[in-house]
């Protein structure tokens, strides 16, 4: 693929920048071949992956190298799109929002700088994957337990910075962040929180230090490059109990949420509770064609047949309690009583786990016990072809009124666009993250267009009802930012003012989450799917 230069940069200027980058990181870590450019395209792009091309990638090996690269980028005005491991699948992978940006790939920086069993935290560099950290904890005999997202191939740090979620009591990953080292847009280095004091002993223990608190400013953000980060980790519990219910009917989600949310808010249940619909369970029993060989959404009567045949509910709750056995038993009684009141005929399937019991890689409960896996990528086999997926992810209050409203709204639209319905609600606190998973074959041009149109309708209708998304693909970053519209979009205005003040050349990840520096504002119209 040919090289697309960043806006306003001549070939001579670009080549001079590349030469200077090479003096810092070495020739071999400037990845500037056609094959390299292809390797940074978004493999799940809705439509052509060439909508978001990088001009090259640079892979620094140290904080000092990052600082020098940022200074050179400022000199030549070459924007850098920073990725940790570049595995943000479904949200753009490693591809940049602004065509021609250079990828700043931090994958080489993969050191685990600190593991503290006593106080329960780690300090990691961007290139550390969930697998890397899990295995190092095992090798060292650590008692810390991880919280993992669906796909453990990606970066622990990148996932938390992008507001990723998991299914343990530490499942809201951005909340575990404490104390960062950050390269500022001018190449200078800073630390957040207590770590702003040199050699402070509580750098990763107390987030509310002195003065403004900046950790969260660097999440889903283009205001700095995080080069290492403290993450709080949960001590492995002595025991754990999984209570599993298959919930028969679609509308049962109303009482499920109203039963579970108070338990979560009061602390009886401390995990992020994941409630997926049937398709997640069916998709691992075979390919779609084996269950329904026609295009378009599987009809309801066929869904009902399949649920009966495979003994599945419309929803499934696999709730997990953690702690000393006595505490877990007491909590389980409270949870089971609450369920009994709501649905006297449903009985929980109970599975105990005790520390030291082997954990099976492919057991669905591995996720709630912090075991990384890449298995969810298999969901590609369901649709077949060159399959891709997108998640439409609004946040709704954890009560039946709001959950039912969103369920019916997205279900109706997804049916209108003749696609299968696959949703989940994860109760992470007073809110649910609702994910509507859309899977399609990228080689089917009409099908791809259909998904894009559906996504646009979902954004609009959901905004009209008073809800917003927490994360999205490159192609909709601006559209979602536009839905945050209070007082004429004053939050977006604030973001841009801060961006311009800190990064006047607009070097760091222009367009990330719809935040455009003034210098590139006119290019915000490109690469939009709305």
């Amino acid at each position: 693929m040919s090289r697309i230069l960043p806006p306003g940069v001549s070939a001579e200027q670009y080549d001079a920048a590349i030469k200077e980058f090479a003096t810092v990181v070495g020739n071999d870590w400037v990845l500037d071949t056609d094959e390299d450019r292809v390797s940074y395209l978004d493999l799940y792009a809705p439509g052509s992956e060439h909508q978001w091309p990088a001009s090259a990638a640079i892979a620094p090996g140290s904080v000092e190298e990052i600082q020098q690269v940022v200074k050179i980028a400022n000199k030549y005005k070459t924007p850098l799109w920073t990725v940790a491991r570049g595995k943000n699948l479904g949200y753009g992978t490693a591809a940049p929002r602004l065509a021609g940006s250079l990828i700043l790939d931090l994958g080489r920086m993969n050191k685990i700088l600190q593991i503290d069993d006593e106080l329960g935290y780690v300090v990691v560099e961007p290139g550390v994957s969930f697998f890397d950290l899990y295995e190092e904890l095992k090798r060292r005999g650590s008692r810390l337990m991880m919280s993992v997202p669906g796909n453990g191939w990606g970066s622990v740090m990148g996932n938390a910075l992008d507001h990723g979620v998991g299914y343990t009591p530490y499942g809201v990953h951005a909340r575990n962040i404490c104390g960062m080292t950050v390269v500022m847009p001018n190449g200078e280095l800073m630390r957040t929180g207590m770590g702003a004091m040199d050699a402070n002993h509580a750098a990763h223990l107390f987030p509310f230090s002195y003065g403004p608190t900046w950790d969260q400013m660097f999440t889903q953000s283009n205001l700095g490059i995080v080069t290492s980060m403290g993450m709080w980790m949960m001590p492995t519990p002595e025991s754990s109990l999984e209570l599993k219910w298959d919930i028969p009917e679609e509308d049962d989600i109303a009482w499920v949420i109203d039963t579970l949310a108070p338990l979560k808010i009061s602390g009886v249940v401390d995990q992020s509770i994941f409630v997926p619909s049937w398709l997640g369970k069916l998709s691992v029993k075979g390919t779609r064609a084996q269950f329904w060989d026609k295009k378009g959404a599987m009809p309801d009567w066929r869904v009902q047949e399949l649920l009966k045949e495979h003994k599945l509910g419309y929803w499934q709750v696999a709730l997990r309690l953690y702690g000393e056995e006595g505490i877990v038993k007491a909590r389980a009684d409270v949870v089971k009583n609450a369920f009994r009141k709501a649905a006297p005929n449903l009985k929980a399937e109970e599975t105990w786990w005790h520390e030291g019991d082997p954990i099976n890689t492919m057991d669905p409960s591995a996720g709630t016990l912090g075991i990384p896996t890449a298995m969810p990528l298999m969901m590609g086999e369901w649709v077949g072809g060159r399959s891709a997926h997108l998640g439409f992810s609004p946040v709704v209050p954890a009560s039946s009124k709001h959950v039912m409203g969103q369920l019916k709204r997205s279900r109706e639209l997804i049916a209108k666009y003749d696609m299968d319905f696959y949703a989940s609600f994860t109760i992470g606190g007073r809110f649910c993250n609702n994910i509507n998973m859309l899977m399609w074959d990228r080689d089917d041009e009409a099908g791809t267009r259909n998904v894009i149109n559906l996504f646009n309708d979902l954004i609009r209708v959901t905004r009209e009802a008073g809800y917003g998304e927490y994360r999205t693909h490159l192609g909709w970053m601006d559209a979602i930012a536009d839905t945050y519209d209070f007082n004429g979009g004053s939050a977006n205005y604030f973001n841009q003012v801060v961006k311009d003040a800190l990064d006047p050349n607009g070097i760091l990840s222009p367009g990330k989450q719809g935040v455009w520096p003034t210098v590139y504002k006119e290019f915000a119209k490109n690469g939009r799917l709305d």
């Binding site: 390797s39 994958g107 994957s129 890689t361 890449a374 997926h389 998640g391």
Partner: protein
């Protein structure tokens, strides 16, 4: 990405468990083999990644082991694809294959195939890939 871990592919796993050379075949009529435990990859080797001195086995385990160890995502997908073609379940493990060539492995790693995404030169360097490709191809160009 925000999706949950799928329910176990029990029937497939049992087949795979029986087929894996590292696992003992249970006697006729006994309980099915236990579910597999987590497969540890080799630790990330130290040293210059541009002129790797690590063994090919280590590099394969560390870089490809996310998906291609026993019970990995790649192994499972390959088994589902290969068994209907008459191949043995054990051939889902890349280290058991005898039909891979160096050029094919390099092309698949850089270009991706099926559920396998493209690997950048930060994911695996040319030097590391050359060793892994030689190892998997067993001398076949």
């Amino acid at each position: 990405m925000f999706v949950h871990i799928p329910t176990p592919l029990l029937p497939l796993l049992v087949m795979l468990g029986l087929a894996m050379p590292s696992l003992a075949m249970p006697p006729e009529g006994s309980a099915p083999p236990p579910m597999p435990t987590y497969q540890m990859r080799a630790a990330t080797p130290d040293g210059d990644r541009l002129n790797s001195t690590a063994t090919a086995e280590t590099l394969f385990s560390n870089h490809c082991g996310y998906c291609h160890l026993p019970y990995g995502m790649g192994t499972t997908v390959l088994m589902m694809r290969r068994m209907p073609m008459g191949a043995s379940p054990a051939s889902a493990l890349l280290t058991n294959r005898d039909d891979l060539t160096v050029d094919y492995i390099k092309a698949v790693v850089r270009q991706g195939i099926g559920a396998m995404p493209r690997q950048t030169r930060v994911d695996i360097t040319d030097s590391e890939l050359a060793k892994v490709a030689d190892f998997l191809a067993g001398g076949s160009q």
